[in-house]
Symmetry: C2
Subunit: 227 residues, 2 copies
């Protein structure tokens, strides 16, 4: 092994270990605040922000929700969420391809935690790198546009192995694509038999109520477990 | 600045500088071989492999073409290309989110360079990280599914700044999405006024002939410039 490769591997290991330490601090904070934190991961254009826009108005009837938006440069997604009158903080990674636990910890003081039930962290649009960085969330949720193709779960297995749920979005376009939903779902369950799968269309609203009621129940379960 | 941050920045700078050195060696090799090398970048499911499947049978009528397929784990894409009787080599990054110039240099000896006109390198499905790593290609081409949304160019500007062409794919789905093609194209040209834009549907074949004849001409131009 070259000296430069050895150094690179050491630095990467240190980076991940220091990320994990901060992630545990964040996790303890969320637990103490009785707030379920989730980390939403998906490719650019999978529909992460649109899913939040459809989910938040229904969730916030019963819950206090906050959003952390991760983006490389712009505040476009945070601006979209802010129009729904939800407390939202933008993190710009300045070129970085994923959020890390330190970036998240720095913005936590900007929220009012007295009655926060759910903190949704939308990661940078990327199906690869965010999978490796624990932010201190209770669990990860994948958003996958079915238009991306049924081979994606087996090509990007790490994130499917580490997530609690996957929202298969843009189901309204199914008939117009060559995607085989049975293969897609079988491959997802082969990687992670315990993952919860939701088939939705943010465009026509189909399937959203199951996703929202599941998420609502997860908030209640989290509070019960952390009384 | 923390000592660990300083070390991380140094290692990243060394990494990129050592990548650039190997990229120049690759570039000199492609030039000596009179072979145009291009680096295809896009999100998972943008349609990179499908574009190649549609392009190769028409290109190979007049040109010798080889393909390097970058993937995280599987050889699914290389298997698809191999059915077209094209020399193809798979690089598995083993979790890595992009190809680098050393990975590419290692597989170059596996091709026959006596009469190679075009080497197409399909990068890992990721719109962020591959933008930073020069592989020694003559230029980069982006494949973007319009279903991903018209805000994507302004949210991921680095790759649009560094590419010579962008193939806007899945145009057959335009009427069924909320994408505004004028905004998308304006934003792309605002980032990079010299970029060539192709609007195609790999599904129904629309627009492919312009892309293929442009690429064919680029091969001829490259050979003229490197006689």
């Amino acid at each position: 092994m070259l000296e430069s490769n050895r150094r690179e591997i050491e630095v990467m290991a240190n980076l991940l270990s220091s990320n994990d330490t901060q992630a545990e601090i964040n996790r303890a904070f969320f637990r103490k605040s009785q707030c379920l934190a989730i980390n939403i991961i998906g490719s650019p254009g999978a529909g992460k922000t649109t899913l939040l826009e459809k989910t938040l108005p229904l969730l916030t009837k019963s819950l206090q929700v906050g959003v952390i938006e991760g983006d490389i440069f712009t505040s476009k997604d945070a601006d979209r969420i802010a129009t729904h009158d939800i407390p939202v903080i933008q993190i710009n990674t300045g070129g970085g391809c994923h959020l890390d636990s330190k970036m998240v910890s720095k913005v936590l003081p900007e929220f009012d935690w007295n009655a926060m039930d759910l903190m949704i962290i939308e990661n940078v649009g990327n199906l690869v790198c965010p999978a490796d960085f624990d932010l201190g969330e209770a669990f990860k949720v994948i958003v996958l546009s079915i238009v991306e193709g049924d081979d994606k779960p087996s090509k990007y297995p790490v994130i499917f192995r580490n997530a609690k749920a996957v929202v298969l979005n843009k189901m309204d376009l199914e008939a117009l694509t060559d995607v085989n939903m049975e293969i897609m779902k079988q491959d997802i369950l082969a990687i992670n038999p315990h993952i919860r799968i939701f088939e939705v269309s943010c465009r026509n609203g189909n399937g959203l109520s199951q996703w929202i009621s599941w998420l609502n129940q997860e908030v209640l379960n989290f509070k019960d477990q952390n009384l």
